[in-house]
Symmetry: C2
Subunit: 155 residues, 2 copies
């Protein structure tokens, strides 16, 4: 099957200057990354594609884990003693190292979107932005080994 190639549409500006600044254990805590703010800089040529986006409270950001070579089948999540299948984790090292984070839209100013809930490092390439819709919000969910992680606060 052929490869699919994508060209970044923007870049993340984050308070995390390097990977080492991002503590994965934070995912197991009630506030998670909710209070981390930063910006999505969408390249000027795509700016018109951001029309109407401010009607949405949350955005799904797809990005390249550009510092990961990907390709792993297992990963040890924060707080776990044993490795888990990679597709049961949010590790950056999936066979295809594409990241996904739902952020809260605070303000759009032309091609700059200020958001909270960032868990990416400065300079992360943005591949796509989608509006977070009712079909992305599931009611009753089971979350496997993550069930013991602290319940998240509201964002």
């Amino acid at each position: 099957m052929k490869n699919f190639c994508y060209k970044p549409i923007g870049i993340v500006h984050s308070p995390f200057r390097s990977r080492e600044d991002i503590d994965p254990e934070r995912n197991t805590r009630s506030r998670g990354f909710l209070n981390i703010t930063g910006e999505l800089e969408i390249f000027k040529k795509y700016e018109k594609g951001l029309n109407d986006i401010s009607g949405f409270s949350h955005l799904i950001v797809l990005f390249a884990f550009h510092q990961s070579p990907g390709g792993r089948l297992f990963s040890k999540p924060p707080g776990e003693r044993s490795v888990k299948g990679i597709f049961a984790t949010r590790s950056p090292h999936h066979p295809n190292s594409i990241g996904l984070t739902v952020v809260k839209l605070l303000k759009r100013d032309a091609n700059i979107i200020r958001v909270s809930g960032l868990d990416m490092v400065e300079g992360t390439p943005v591949l796509d932005i989608k509006p977070y819709t009712r079909k992305d919000r599931k009611g009753s969910i089971r979350t496997g080994y993550m069930a013991k992680w602290k319940k998240l606060g509201r964002s």
Copy 2:
């Protein structure tokens, strides 16, 4: 900025045999695609990466809209009279035509995952699977022009 290329890890088996079978207006109805069932066939070489996945009720599927050339900045969503900025839509024609659907995991059998909530066409290349976690579920949301779409039933 460089391109990022990804190799499919599997393929979608869907009751929708062609794009014409998929009615986008369905997104505006209360049941949406919730009762559409099918399978994610993950290629054998990635099967071990599916360990532990059955603990999760829902999965996020990233896929290639392989029948879309992508590249648009505007799209007219179902039921709308005017075009919207592409990033405020779930159109298949985003500059990078990557798709995202949250499905319900019904049963995993080795490298085959039976799911409901499918809105992809038969043969769609799967790029990644992630567990749906509490941080993907947002409480109070605003959904812009989609607010008038019917409230979704529970999945």
